[in-house]
Symmetry: D2
Subunit: 338 residues, 4 copies
C-alpha cells in the first residue's frame, strides 16, 4: 500500500502514518521525493487492509493499493488451475462444459423436452430455474420447490447433472438436496448473507458476475465462499451494464483472459443473458470458447415463443444443435474438446 | 407497447402478433407505413407485460415499451406526494429530514457521542449499521444484534428515531423491533426475497438505489414493496457506478427531478457514499437540497480517524455542525426548512 | 416515430401533434388507448427526424424512435455485404484481413523491421501512425509528414498496403497521397469537419468507434462519410469505456454480431487498444475472429520495450508470429481463411 | 510512480527497472517486502511519464501513477483561483456568470429575441452556435459565418459578450474575430489539432468535458491549451455518458468539488445538455450553484416549439426569467451573487 503525503506535509504527519502502520504490524519504507514524501506500507496482507485506515490521517493526499483485496481466489495463492468435479463432469479441464436448458422450469413436459435436446446435442449439464428473481413483482416468479422436484426427476431420467439458482440463505440446504451446482445470480453476487451460507457447504457453485461488479470485486466475492471452506467455485461472466443498448448487457470478453491471469478458478460464459436476443447468442458463444472460457451456460427452450421467461434470448432445439456442431471445430482449433 | 415488423413481413406474421395480443386481452391498432407495419398494443397494463412475449414472434423487428414497467410507485398511479411518518418526523413534507450517524455501530461510547452531535446539530434521525455488508470477508462485519440493542438504547436516550440496515429476509421481524426505518442497501435493491419480506411489514423503508440500477428499475423494486402492502417507502439516491474514479460513485443529481416527475415517493440523498471523501460531502449535500431532495443521509463519526468502516467519507462533529448551518439558508432559499 | 400523449391530454393537443406531422409530410395514425392516446408518425424517413420536433409540443409525454437515425449504413438500405478493395486486398470477403504494425512510426529502421515481421507472419496490411493524438501535450506527437514518407517507402519495399491516421481536415488530401486506408481515430469519430472532408474522397476509411459511442451513433457517423460519396468504409471496434479497469477499455464483442445484422459494412477489431496489455491481446484476437470479424488491427513493434507509444500493448515479433499461427485454425473452423 | 515487481522476480529484473529510471534522470527507492519488491520512481515530473515505459520491462507486475498526468491545470501548480476576464465580465469570481441563449443561431429575429430575454433576466453572456456538430448528416448544420455576423451584431446592440463554438482548427482565427469566448464542444475535447490552434490565441475558451472523459483527462486537455500559452480557460461540465437513460446525460455534480480541489480553473455547468428536457433544467441549475459552480450555460429559445436544434432542452423566456429569480437566493445563501 502506497501512501502519498501532501506537498510540504510536516514530519509529524509523516510520523503519524508510520506509527499507524507499525501499530498494525506492517513494515514501512519512506520515499523522500523532491516535492513530497511517499510511504510504502509493506507486509504480506496489505491487500486485505482498508485504504481508509491511512487515508483519514492528517496530511495524506492519496492511498493506492498495490496488492489486490482478494486473496484466496488469487493465482498467487494457488498456482495450479482449480477443476470442479460435478457428478463425473469436470469443469476447468480440457473438455469445455456446456450447461444448457430453459431459464425457468415451467412444467414437466417443457423440462423433459429441453433435457432431451440438451443431452442429444452433447451438452453435459442441464440448467433450469425454480426460483426466479424478477425485476417486476407482476412477473412469473418460478415454480419454487415443485420446480426442484421436476429438476431432480429429469436429472435422473437423463443422467445429467443440474444447475439451479438459490436466492434465499435459508433455502441453501434445501436446494443443495436437489442441485449438483448452486447458481448465485448476478444480482446476488454481493448478497453476503447468501454467500456466507453457501460457503459453508461443499456444493459446487456457479458465481455469476454482478451487473456492475469489477473483476476485483467478483474475485473478492469468491473469497467469501472460499473463506467459508467451499473450494468448488465456477465463475460465470454474463455481461456488464454499459451505455450500449443494442445488446441486453455488454459481454466483457476481456474478463476471460484477465481471470486466467489473476485467478485459479474456472470461468464459464453465459452468452444468452449478455446478448438478450437469440440471433446474437452463437457469435458470443463462439467468441467465448476462442477466448479461453472453460464452459458455456446457454438458454434453450423447446418452444421459445411460449416461454414464460426470457424467450427472446432462448435458442430453439435446432438452433442449439447447430451451434453445438459449430462450436466443436473451434474448441479443437484451440486444442480442447467439447 | 409498439411492435415493429420487419420490412416486407407477410400478413400471417402481422396476424400472429395481433392474435397473441388479443389472446392476452389487449387492444390492437395497425399502423401501415410505406415500408413496414407497426402494431400498437393497447390496454391499461401493457407496462407490466414482458416485451419478449411479442419479440419472439416471427417477423418482429423490435418491441418498444411505452408504458413504464412500474405501476404502484408511479405518479400516474397516485397524484399526491407520499409523506412517510416516522415517530413524529415526516419525510416528504416541507421540512428537509437529515439522517446522520456512523456507518457502523462500534460500541456504546461511539454511538452515544455520535447521537449527541447529530441531535445538537439539528438532524432528526440517527443512522447506524449493525449488519454491515462488506466487500471483503476479512473486514469488520458489524456488531449484529448487540448493535441493535445499543441503537435502541441510544434512540431512547436522545429521543431520535433510528434507521438501520437489514440484510437477511429472516431477520426482518427482529430488526423491525429495534428500527424506525429499515434500510435496504444498494447491493440488495434487487434482493427479491428481502423485498418481499419487508413488503409484508408496515415499517418505513429506505430503499437505496442499486449501483447500476436505472431509475425505472429502482421504481420497479419499490413496486415489490408497495405490492406487498407497505406504502412507507423512502427512496435514497447514493451514486451510480460510472467510469469516473475521482469520486467513489457518481451521484446522479438528475434523479431527483426525474423522480419528482415520475413518482409520488419521497427522495433522500446519501452524499457520503457517493463522494467517498469527507471533503466532497458538503458540496454534494448542498446540491441535493437545492435540487429538491426531501432529506439527506450523512455519515458522521465522533472520530473518523478511528472508524472501523468508511472513516474517509465520515464528517467530524465540527464539520457536520458547520454543514448543518450552511444548509439552512439553502433550504430557505427554495422555500423549505431544515 | 411514436408519440405518447399524457393521460387525459385534450383533443387540441393531439391535434397539434397531428398537424405538425402532416405539415412535414408524414402520415399519422391515432391509437386510442383506454388511458391515453398514442400517435404513430409514418413515412420512409422518420429515422432522420429529430424526436424533439414532437417532444416539445404541449401534451406530449414521450417520443420513441422506431426507425434508426442512420440510413445509408443500414442493412435495409443495402442488402449485400460491402467489400472494400485496398490495393488488391479485399476487406469484408472470405479472407480475414490482418493489419499490423507499430502504433507510431519512430524511424526507418523500426518501421522496416516491423514491416518484415508483419509480412512474414502473413498479415496483409501495414499500420503505422505519423500523426498521434496524445492525451498529454508533453508526450511524443508523431513524426508527421516525415513519418508518411517513411510509410510510403516501406509500403513499396514490402508491397504492403498501409493504413495511417489523419487528424486534421486540412491534411486529408496530403495523407491520401501516402495512405491506402485513412484511419479516423476513436476520439475523432464525431469530428464532423474531418468526416465531411474524408467523405469527399474515395479513399478507403477505417472508422474507429468512439470510446462512448453507441453502435447507432457509430453507424450514423458512417452515414456522414457515405452521404459525402465515400462508400469504402471499414468499421473498427476498439473497446468502449466502462467501469471495468483491469483492461484499458472493454471490447464490445457483441458489436460484431449486431453490426452484421444492422449494417452492410465490414468490421475489423483492434484488440490491442481494447486490452492495453500484450498478454491479453491473443485471447481477444481469437474471440474477434470466432465472433465473425472481417479483420484485425494489431500493434506489433520490433522491440516493445523501447517503443515511444503504447509499448505495453504491442506484441513482439515472435508473439505476433505465434498468434498468426493460432488464428489460422480458428478462421478455418468458421469457414474462412487468414 | 510505483513499480510492483512479480513475486520472486530476480535481481536482474529489479535492476532493469532501476537502470531505466536512472537513465531518464529519476531517483529510485527500493521497497523490499517479504514477498515482492516495490520500486518507487521519484522526481518532479513523474506525472508526465508514460507508465508503459516501466510496465513493458521484464518482471513488472503493475505500474501505478501517484502524480497526476496534468500539470499546468493543477492546483499544485498555481495556488490561487484563475479568474477569466471577458469584456468586463469576470468568470471565477464572487459573481456567478450565467451564459444563455439558443443552441443554434437560426436568424436575426430569433437571436435578437433571445438576447433581449437573456439581458432582461440578468444573464451576462449570450450563447449561440453558428457551427453545429450534429450526429446526423441529415440535420441542420448551422448558419456558419452568417451566424457569426448575426452574433456580432446582436452582441453590439445588447452589449453582451458572446460565446460560440469553433469546430475546425483552420477557422479559429476567423471565429476569434467574432467571439468573446470560444467554445470547444464535448466531442472535440480531445481534438488535439483544435486544442493546439486555440492554445496559440489568448481568447477565453470554454472547454466542455468529453462525454466519457474522466476529470483527469479533462484537465490534461486543458494542459494542451495552457501549454500553448492560453491561460483563459473555463471548464464546462455538461454531463457524462452512463447507463441511465431518463436524462440525456448524467450530470456529474461531484466534478465541481473535485475540480475546486484539484485545479485553479473556473467551472461552469451546462444543465441543458445534461438534462435533455426543459422540465429538469431548473433542478440541475440550482444544484450546480449550490455545489459551487462559477457559472451556468443555459439554452433559452424565444419559441422552443419551433427551434431547429435541441428545442426540448431549451427554456422559454418566461421559464428562464423565473429560474433566474429562483437562483438569486441560492447564490446568496452560499455567499455569492448572480
Amino acid at each position: 500500500m502506497i501512501v502519498e503525503m501532501r506537498t510540504g506535509s510536516p514530519d509529524e504527519e509523516v510520523e503519524g502514518v508510520v506509527q499507524r502502520a507499525k501499530s498494525l504490524g506492517f513494515g514501512v519504507q519512506l520515499n523522500l521525493g523532491t516535492n513530497k514524501t511517499v510511504i510504502a506500507i509493506l507486509g504480506p496482507n496489505t491487500g486485505q487492509l482498508d485504504t481508509d485506515i491511512f487515508a483519514v490521517l492528517p496530511g495524506v493526499e492519496s492511498v493506492t493499493r498495490i496488492m489486490k483485496p482478494y486473496k484466496l481466489a488469487a493465482r498467487e495463492f494457488k498456482g495450479e488451475d482449480t477443476k470442479v468435479a460435478v457428478n463425473g463432469v469436470e469443469i476447468g479441464g480440457k473438455r469445455i462444459a456446456v450447461m444448457a436448458g430453459p431459464c425457468a422450469i415451467e412444467g414437466e413436459k417443457q423440462l423433459m423436452a429441453a433435457a432431451m435436446v440438451v443431452k442429444e446435442a452433447g451438452a453435459c449439464i442441464l440448467r433450469g430455474g425454480a426460483y426466479k428473481p424478477r425485476t417486476s413483482p407482476f412477473s412469473f416468479q418460478g415454480l419454487e420447490e415443485e420446480g426442484l422436484v421436476l429438476l431432480r426427476q429429469t436429472k435422473r431420467q437423463f443422467d445429467l447433472p443440474v444447475v439451479t439458482e438459490v436466492v434465499d440463505p435459508h433455502e441453501v440446504s434445501k436446494v443443495t438436496k436437489y442441485a449438483d451446482i448452486l447458481q448465485i445470480g448476478a444480482r446476488n453476487m454481493q448478497n453476503y448473507a447468501l454467500l456466507t451460507e453457501i460457503g459453508k457447504t461443499k456444493c459446487p457453485v456457479l458465481l455469476k458476475r454482478g451487473l456492475s461488479a469489477t473483476i476485483t470485486e467478483w474475485l473478492t466475492a469468491a473469497d467469501y465462499l472460499l473463506a467459508g471452506g467451499n473450494e468448488n467455485i465456477i465463475l460465470c461472466e454474463r455481461g456488464i451494464r454499459t451505455f450500449e443498448d443494442s445488446t441486453r448487457f455488454s459481454m466483457d470478453i476481456g474478463s476471460i483472459a484477465v481471470l486466467k491471469r489473476s485467478s485459479h478458478l474456472p470461468v464459464v460464459v453465459d452468452p444468452s443473458h449478455a446478448a438478450g436476443h437469440y440471433s446474437l447468442v452463437p457469435s458470443l458463444a463462439k467468441a467465448a470458447i476462442a477466448a479461453g472460457a472453460d464452459g458455456l451456460l446457454i438458454e434453450v427452450h423447446p418452444n421459445p415463443k411460449e416461454a414464460l421467461v426470457d424467450g427472446l434470448q432462448s435458442l430453439t432445439p435446432s438452433d442449439f444443435s447447430r451451434l453445438m456442431k459449430e462450436l466443436k471445430p473451434i474448441a479443437e482449433a484451440i486444442g480442447r474438446s467439447i
